[in-house]
């Protein structure tokens, strides 16, 4: 079951949500941290991606994790489908890394 590569924002949002639900700002902050600033999600990109991913069933809206969280914020959680997609993508990327390693494009792991 091969699928197309995930778009960059989609992949990173799924990675962010893999551990638990988050709200929009939280996702953007995590992604920025995790990629050392390489991937910056602007408001338009972030929320358009969230809309598309919700329509495709990769994420869903979720209740806030803490009862006293800000009621205005909307929290999102990953779905089983989303988990499958991001796992498949990770596996694809792993194969890609092995190819790159075989071609001596990556330093050998110590």
């Amino acid at each position: 079951m091969t699928t197309e590569p995930l778009k960059v924002p989609v992949l990173h949002i799924l990675l962010a949500l893999a551990e638990g639900e988050m709200h929009g700002l939280g996702m953007a902050d995590w992604v920025e941290q995790a990629t050392d600033g390489a991937v910056e999600l602007g408001p338009g990109t972030l929320y358009r991606s969230l809309k598309e991913m919700a329509e495709e069933g990769l994420i869903r809206e979720a209740p806030p994790p803490e009862p006293d969280a800000d009621p205005r914020r909307r929290y999102y959680a990953i779905t089983a489908r989303g988990r499958r997609q991001v796992s498949a993508e990770a596996a694809r990327l792993e194969r890609l890394v092995e190819v790159a390693r075989a071609r001596h494009l990556l330093p050998e792991r110590a």
């Binding site: 939280g26 602007g42 338009g44 809309k51």
Partner: protein, 889 residues
Amino acid sequence: MTRSSPPGRREHIAEARIFGWLLLAFPAPFRAAYGEEMTAFFLERLDRARQRGRLATARHWVRSAADVVSTAADERRITRRHSRARQEGAMMGIMTDVRSASRSLQRTPAFTAVAVLILALGIGGSTAVFSIVNQVLLRPLPYAESGQLVRLYQYRAEAPEEDTYVTGPAFTAYRTMQSFDDVAASYTYRETGADLTQDIGATRIRQLQVSSSYFDVLRAAPVRGRGFMPDEERPDSRTAVVSQELWQSRLGGAEVLGTTLTLNGESYEVVGIAPARLQDPVVGAVDVWVPHISIDDEPQNHALTVLARLRPGVTMEAAAAELELVHAALGEQFPQAADRLGRMYSLHEDTVGGASRTLLVLLGAVGLVLLLVCVNIANLMLARAMSREREFVMRAALGSGSGRIVRQLLMESLVLGLAGGGAGVLLGMLMLDAIKLLGAGSVPRLADSAFDVRVLSFALVASISSGLLFGLLPALRFSRVNAAAVLREESRSATSGRSRNRARSILVGAQIALAFMLLVGAGIVTLSLHRLGDVDLGITEDRVLTFEVHLPAVRYDSLRRASFHEEFAGRASTLPGVDAAGAVSRLPVTGSYHAWGSQPATGPLAGTQGSSIGAEQRVIAGDYLEVMGIPLLSGRVFDAREAAGTQRRVLLSQSAAESTFPGVDAVGHTLLVLGQPVEVIGVVADVALTAEGDVAPVVYHAHSQFAGNRNWPLVQVVRTGGDPLALIGALRAELASLDTDLVLHRPEPLADVVGRGIAQRRFMTWLMAGFAALAMLLAVLGLFGVITYVVRQRRREIGIRAALGARPAEIRGMVLGQGLRIAVVGIVIGGAGALALGRVLSALVFEVSPADPWILAGAALTMGLAATAAAWLPAREATAVEPGTVLHE
């Protein structure tokens, strides 16, 4: 995961608003769902950026704005694509249907061509006739708010069906009425014209004398200059308003206000130019209007045509009530004319009323033709659908959905209908031109008929409804077809074949019935026309030329007028080819004119009440009676004894003599005409007043005696042995030798003048005959198609019969019999329909009963022969069937 506190409200209002403007780039649903979150997201990050410095803040603004704008564009593009796909899903259905319908029609080009042609004929014809009905009956008159215009007439209490012109005192009284905004009079009592003298010579133009409020009533104020003032309503006024057409064509379109025109030898100052295409509602086109109308105080002189415009809000009933009061007052003022009352009609009804019956019957006829066309095409479509039955049933079995197939069938007939409608509109325009040419002058406003929005809408509606009508039948039949039987090849069985043939035969029978009705109608109007032609008008109308010569009052006083006509008639009669020449004030068979009260002063009815009759007064000169072939019955005709100034003498027509001097010879008695005594010196035969042969009493005066008090223009009549038109040149020369400025005006054969009375009937007859011919053609084609199909279907049966010894004549008889059976049913039904419609037609017939057995028999015979002709070829084909080949199929 950081949790930051919600941003302080007060500081961020401005930034939130600015970001909100950026968010407008997104489509509204997206904004509604995510706008608030995006704003909160942006503002929190803005806070952090502020903490890092001004550069970071600026960078945050720029990147956020760019991100919003670019993703908004993407979002909009995606949304648009989705909605278009949804729309296209629905549209795709209709477009594919139309395309597959056209393709399917193109696969049977012969059928499609024939169907489109027949449909074009039907829709074209009905659209052409509808455009005439639209122009004549439905469109308002070409005056502003023409619904407010009325025509006023007077009538005598003892003859209420005879409307006549209005008297001066009555008109003056009408002008004071509250119900009218404006009242105007024009002098249409006689065909008025004037000789316009220019450098190039004299030409006759159309002149109308009008009162000062004429242009106000019509709301057609002159576009240059002015209309007329009330004080110009005098016989010595010499101002004029010219028409735009005269101004452009004869006066060169130059600056003309203030210049003079020479009309009938007198100088008129041009004070105004009328609006383009202004026509008088009664006389039509006018070249020049003049105000020297004579509005006298004679309560018994009916000479004025009166139009009025109702005040806004005033109904005709209210105005009519006021009219009654006005006439009550007039009756007290002029007791001798107390029996002259007044009535009004809407101008629209006055102008077109006479033609409405004719036109509505025509519309009915054309509707029948259209129905016939639809039936014909339904038949064709049924035949076509039957041959595709297997295809449809298989498609249905394979899951195509019978609803889809029915939709396709209907779509095919709709496409066919629209194609036929388009071709029909083009054909209709040609037909309309032809009708306008053939029927010129027979129906008022005919010449202005054209294809406008209403007519084109009619064509569209006709196309679509025809399409649906004739498509319905095959569609219905399909929905009830027995799928299993069709697939099992049992379509060859006798039962299902017969049921299908029955449908087609019924259709053809209906066609024959409709065609028969049209045939009867055509027969009735044709016979009426023929009977009209047989009517004895009391004159010999062939080989007589008529023309007008107008003597301008400025050069011809009463004495010169008197001598002119006698001299001209004398000279004309000496020309080679001329048998006799004379003149009359009004030609016979052109309707009532100058009907005056005439009363016997002597004789058996002298002095009795009610002995006065309304007699047509005619002034004659030269050998008029001889030219027209009116025989003298007793006494003598006018001769040199009737010189100017002598004792007034008259001739009476036979009916006049019998009405005023019954039982005695009128010669020698005295008659009072408008109170003046005249001696009767002769009695002549009657002449007809109308083309239908109605006779009215006539009193003939000698022009030499009459010219003294009234300048009545005379129509010249000249009898010749050959073609009347050949004399025009010689007569013109003769006229010029007497007076170079006189115009020989409107030369035409007398037969044409008389024929105008029946122009409308003739027009109607031609059209009905055309429709009947078309209907017959369609019915014959329909019958031909059905019989051919039947013969093909029953080839096996025919072959078997032939093998069993049936002779060709028997087989032929069988086929012909089939055709005649259908025809007979159609004729019987059509006959019933024709009798039912007879009442409608009876208003238009002349001395023909709508149920005339000869016509019915003739139509039945014609139809029968046509049916036989239609079945002849298939019958011959049937006899050619080889038993051997058929049995082995």
